[in-house]
């Protein structure tokens, strides 16, 4: 149902935007007149001051006029001077020789084939492509008398280097993180997987931003149907701008109204490489270090890359701890409200009396108290993120302490509630991915509300509804709750616990259908017993 709605939406977006963007006439090609071409570019770009036009004269005694156009700041100026201007204006010997040998040959072709000492170079006649190249940082060479141009790729701009990712931090594991440049990001993945089957399909999405998007997968491991589906969904996007992978995530996800993410994202090349090896598909978007991975399953959001770098025993225990804290983050305030307002009989007498003592004189019902504290915490958290970093963390700690302690001292909030809310908050930070923590953050309030009106009964109904919802979700055709529902015994090796590496001999079953075996000889790595 929801899926069809979404498709219809997409189509309407496509049709409306195609009307808007159809600005240039279809016969948009270069003319043979240099001045006309330059004038046309100037008028289209609105005299933008960062576009540099350089007119030079080349050839024997400067008989031919030529134009060089590039975008200042996106082009590598030293290479422009050393390899383009120098070739055209000084080292013209080669050109002259060739022109004498082949007088019929196009000057543009001669320049391209014999003169230019640069890597990527293209002949271009289409005006739109030429503009796109220019604005992406390519250098354009126009020559009077030719309706062709040379487009030289010497892009270079200042960018953030490969730094340690700030999300999904680990104690043990690689420290490098993706950066904003899609090429750097693909290189980081290639450096990890040197397999010819690691394929990369590039797309340009966004009518105006023309954002480079790369789809990466390992051919032969990734499910072809899912690859096709990913390409289909990406090709269906018709939008003016893609600024972050989150834009794409929202446009291609399966369940737009579910609080649970059906697309995984990561800043870490090792996580993406591992996902590719499992048969998943990565979507890299230029301009953001966050790479999308599909299909994303519920369990995946509880797995940290460190699980696989640490010993299996501690990794399993830590993973169980994550599920436990997920439950706390989801249910703790709701359970507290339900038990203290409906099911007092469940508490040991000493605890009941102690809680009752804290509530003496408390002005608000427990539910209201919980909501106040949770909202206070959300405010603190949001403020902590948005504040300038230098005061952010200190302010959030002090804020929490002052608000919490002062509220208790003033008798507005009971101390137990502060404890519950604090535990909840800490638990919600345990999950290794931010996305699942967000889902829990929202659902928590719903659970508190049903706990306040229906007690444990309500919580039970809510949990049943939640599980039904989770089981109904799919991510690119793969059931979201697999390998729990549908249950798969072999995939339990990496679900709640992680078995030792030598036991993990197959890839996840539902993601990968064609190439299951991860390692041969999967028995153990135990040393052989000494022979007597």
């Amino acid at each position: 149902m929801g899926f069809f709605n979404k498709k219809e939406n997409k189509e309407t977006i496509k049709s409306s935007s195609s009307v808007q963007t159809n600005e240039h006439n279809p016969k948009n090609v270069l003319t043979t007149n240099l001045q006309e071409n330059i004038h046309k570019i100037k008028s289209l770009l609105g005299k933008s001051s960062d576009i540099i036009f350089r007119e030079i004269r080349i050839g024997k005694e400067g008989s031919i006029s030529a134009g060089i156009i590039y975008t200042d700041g996106l082009t590598d100026t030293p290479s422009l001077q050393n390899f383009i201007l120098e070739t055209l204006m000084i080292d013209t010997k080669m050109v002259e020789i060739q022109r004498k040998i082949n007088p019929d040959k196009n000057l543009i072709t001669i320049l391209k084939d014999y003169a230019m000492t640069v890597g990527e170079i293209k002949e271009m006649t289409d005006f739109d492509l030429l503009l796109t190249g220019l604005l992406s940082g390519d250098t354009i060479i126009l020559i009077d008398g030719y309706d062709q141009s040379l487009m030289i790729s010497n892009k270079h701009w200042v960018e953030r280097g490969v730094t340690e990712p700030s999300s999904q931090t680990v104690v043990r594991g690689p420290r490098e993180g993706f950066s904003e440049n899609v090429r750097v990001n693909t290189a980081l993945i290639r450096r990890k997987i040197k397999d010819p089957n690691l394929w990369l399909e590039s797309k340009v999405i966004g009518e105006r931003t023309k954002t480079n998007v790369a789809v990466m997968y390992i051919n032969g491991i990734a499910n072809d149907k899912i690859v096709k589906e990913v390409n289909l969904r990406l090709d269906n996007i018709t939008i003016d701008g893609i600024l972050e992978s989150g834009n794409i995530e929202e446009l291609i996800q399966d369940a737009p109204f579910s609080p649970f993410p059906t697309v995984y994202n990561s800043e870490r090349p090792d996580i993406v490489a591992a996902a590719l090896l499992e048969g998943r598909i990565a979507i890299l978007v230029d301009g953001t270090p966050f790479v999308l991975v599909v299909p994303a399953l519920f369990i995946q959001f509880f797995q940290s890359s460190e699980d696989y770098y640490q010993r299996a025993d501690i990794a399993s225990l830590v993973r169980l701890l994550r599920f436990f804290s997920f439950a706390i983050a989801l249910l703790a305030p709701a359970l507290f409200v339900a038990i203290t307002t409906y099911h007092q009989a469940m508490l040991p007498p000493a605890l009941l009396i102690s809680l009752a003592a804290q509530r003496e004189g408390a002005p608000f019902p427990a539910f209201f108290e919980a909501v106040i504290m949770e909202i206070t915490f959300e405010i603190l958290r949001e403020a902590g993120i948005r504040m300038p970093r230098s005061i952010g963390s200190a302010m959030s700690i002090v804020g929490a302490f002052v608000v919490g302690t002062a509220a208790v001292e003033a008798g507005i909030i009971s101390a137990a509630m502060v404890i519950v809310v604090s535990i909840t908050a800490i638990s919600s930070f345990v999950s290794p991915t931010y996305d699942i923590a967000i889902a829990v953050r929202m659902l928590r309030f719903g659970f508190m509300a049903i706990a306040a009106s229906f007690g444990l009964y309500g919580i039970t109904i809510g949990l049943i509804a939640l599980i039904l919802h989770l089981c109904s979700l799919r991510s690119f055709g793969v059931p979201y709750m697999s390998p729990l529902a549908p249950f798969n015994i072999s995939d339990q090796k990496d679900t709640f616990i992680r078995l030792p590496e030598w036991k993990m001999f197959s890839r996840p079953r539902l993601i990968n259908q064609q190439n299951e075996v991860r390692q041969q000889n999967s028995e153990s790595a135990k040393p052989e017993a000494p022979k007597k």
């Binding site: 009396i353 009752a356 003496e360 004189g361 009964y457």
Partner: protein
Amino acid sequence: MKRCTFVLLILCLLLTGCWDRRELNEISITLAMAIDKVEDEYQLTVQVVVPSEVSMKTGTGRSTVTLFQAKGETVYEALRKMTVDSPRKIYPGHLQMLVLGEELAREGISESLELLSRDWEIRSDFFVAVARGVTAAEILNVSTTLENIPANKMFNTLKTSEGAWSATNGISLNELITDLVSDGKEAVLTGIFITGDQEIGSSKQNAESITPAARIQYDHLAIFKKDKLVGWLTESESRGYNGITDSVKTTVGPISCPNGGKATIEVIKFKTNVKGKINNGNPEVDIEIKVNGNVGEVQCHIDLTKQESIDELAKIYEDELRKNINQTIETAQKKYKTDIFGFGNAIHRSNPREWKKIKDQWDEKFSDLNVNIKIDVKLQRMGTLDNSFLEKMKD
């Protein structure tokens, strides 16, 4: 159709649930309850915790509990009538002690327990005791030390003494009702009484002095016939009763040494098996007791390094235990003619057909019942000494 089902399912969720929402500061947590009979009416007294006084932080030094009292023709009536006095509704979900007045107990307790076993809010795992010499309400009116909530002190004292001394028996409401409805066992309840000055007992000073003027203590067992109290066992009979009904966890038993002087056996394991049988048409009961113990204290001259002397002590303990149990059974058989041990149940279990025939005249049959006792005492350890240092002092 689908929509209709959906709406129905939603209504299922909305039209039910827990309707009894109340905040913790809207309930009076009742830990002890007393029922007396005053002039044909039930007088119900509840001991309610004052939470702010229990808390270390907010306590102002006032009493940690308070009493509310009401009279009514039924217990429930009295319980609800209490709200004319109490600002919060009585919440008996955590009831730990129920004290019944002696007068009520002599008239019959079963009617007064009906509410407590019926009400969904009340758990049935609290202890029941009978006030001896005073009204049940007076028992709740004593402040206590160490445990600053008197109900907790009563509950914990009973639990500790039943485990370590075994002259009392913590009977929960469930067990009491099982005994009341059973044909082959009569009920028994622990007695509770006040020593010292009751006037001061209810005041805060009582708990403030090192030696409280009034204390709540447990007494021996009260024995019932049907639901009426008929008499009290002595201390040693109470211990005998616990021995027969397999309620001894650990205890100590003083014995006389063969050459004069005293010694104490510490019982660490006490297991009783009661088997009923019909012998030539006459009911008979076999009691088999297995005791594991230690030599706990030796105040006499005996050579503990010899196995024979240990065996001798075991033999003496066995004899004393047998005497004690015989005495207890005789009291029940001859004096009160009430089967508090559940021998009837033992016969019922072994021979249901015969039991049906004799159960109507069980009280008479019980009085003449032949009881065979088999006791096996094993003494295992003797602490950190072998021979007592008293031996050396003699030299």
